[in-house]
Amino acid sequence: MELLLQFLSNTGFYLADYRNFVMLAIGSLFVYLAIAKKYEPLLLLPIGFGVLIGNIPFFKGFGLGIYEPNSVLHYLYFGVTTGVYPSIVFLGLGAMTDFSSLLARPKLMLLGAAAQTGIWVTLLSAMALGFMPKEAASIAIIGGADGPTSIFLTAKLAPHLIGPIAIAAYSYMALIPIIQPPIMRLLTTRQERRIHMSEPREVSKKELMVFPVIGLFLCCFLAPASIPLLGTFFFGNIMKESGVVDRLANTARSAVIDTATIFLGLTVGASTQGDVFLTPKSVSIFLLGAVAFSIATASGIIFAKIMNLFMKEKINPLLGAAGVSAVPGSAREVHLVGLKEDPTNFLLMHAMACNSSGVIGSAICAGILWSFMM
């Protein structure tokens, strides 16, 4: 009888706390959005289910919780706290990314830089709200719209915020179809949205092979702290483009990135234990995340319009919105908004170019922020 009572007092039913239920609701929402709405399911489903797993109430001290040093979740979470998973995800991303349209029209790279403005504005905002500099930098990187980059920088600067920052970053990435289109429409005229981009020139295999080396040199000499992300990213890319190690490139863009994605998502989700997660800070981070994404989108578009003032061949300013990486969500949105105005206007390929430059841009920003905090 005593044993039964003791057992019952160890069940989740007994130990449950209202914060667990809040988080379970959030987790369920993520799972629902991932499955029913197909919002970035590769991210939202693992994270959402991870939130569920992490918020089943349990007896502390058992070695079950992700913050207890000998739990399975803790071992799997190690790849997050050390930054290893983000590095591996970037390896796979590199082995997937096709830079040919970016190489054909290098100007689009500037849009990837411009869209990082969201980061810097958010940095100031976070400081103004009283966050410590390292916390502020970690929050600011949400504006880069790049999950692994955000997790990586936060793991290095403010590990206690990994949960809320990752959740904010991924939530807004999933909500791209809701956040971006209104901003795009607000900041562009119908005529601008109808601008066609000319066919890009053909890019030679050799250019594609040389690019990752040059990219590595330039980006990582400038911001060495971006090595863990961009080093593996460009490594993945040269494996893909060289054509001599296809079996490695194939594994990198399938088994390797998938495994890292599964465990990254699962443990980041599980790191949102209600009692740790539900704090006023988390709420502020969520608000700041919305600011970051909106400004990033807007600044990309505005910068494209400014570029148009100086260029003969106009750029469709919608492409600016694709400068927030959020691969490939934002590129798709740009494409769809463009299509709506003119069903013959295919922006996808150009938007993907901005997307990949946005990935590089935000990884550099992560390097700069990290370096600023030293």
């Binding site: 790279m109 810097w120 940095l123 100031l124 103004a128 009283g130 502020a136 890019v203 911001a223 700069i368």
Partner: protein, 132 residues
């Protein structure tokens, strides 16, 4: 500490000015280099052609195909007779056996050449199919 005061104290303004400046100038330089890349590549290609033929040929091209270009296809035709006796997919050892029984010369080596030529294809562990 909150508000502008916190920003100043934490060197926020400097960061928010220098940060985007660095990113922008970095990516601008990268864009400029990229835009010149095809010229560079072309230049190299030209130079390479002028000075030397590649000193060592890629090894894969030297081997069998260059030496017996149509032999393999002929061999394949001859082997077709054996293949017809087997059920698809078949085990390699069965192919060897019929080859030996019919006094085909060099069965193992021929089989390895047929595999290199993509005529004999491994379908799964131990089982092979004949392509064409």
């Amino acid at each position: 500490m909150y508000g502008l005061e916190a920003i100043s104290a934490n060197n926020g303004w400097a960061m928010a000015i220098i940060g985007p400046l660095i990113v922008m100038s970095g990516l601008t330089i990268l864009a400029i280099i990229i835009s010149q890349l095809h010229k560079l590549v072309a230049l190299f290609d030209k130079k390479a052609k002028q000075t030397t033929e590649p000193p060592i040929k890629s090894k894969d091209e030297i081997s069998a195909p260059n030496i017996f270009p149509n032999d393999i296809l002929k061999t394949a035709k001859i082997y077709q007779v054996l293949i017809d006796k087997l059920e698809q997919p078949f085990e390699l050892s069965d192919l060897y056996q019929v080859a030996v029984q019919n006094n085909f010369p060099h069965p193992i080596l021929t089989v390895s050449r047929l595999r290199d030529a993509g005529i004999l294809i491994r379908e799964s562990e131990g089982l092979f199919i004949w392509n064409r």
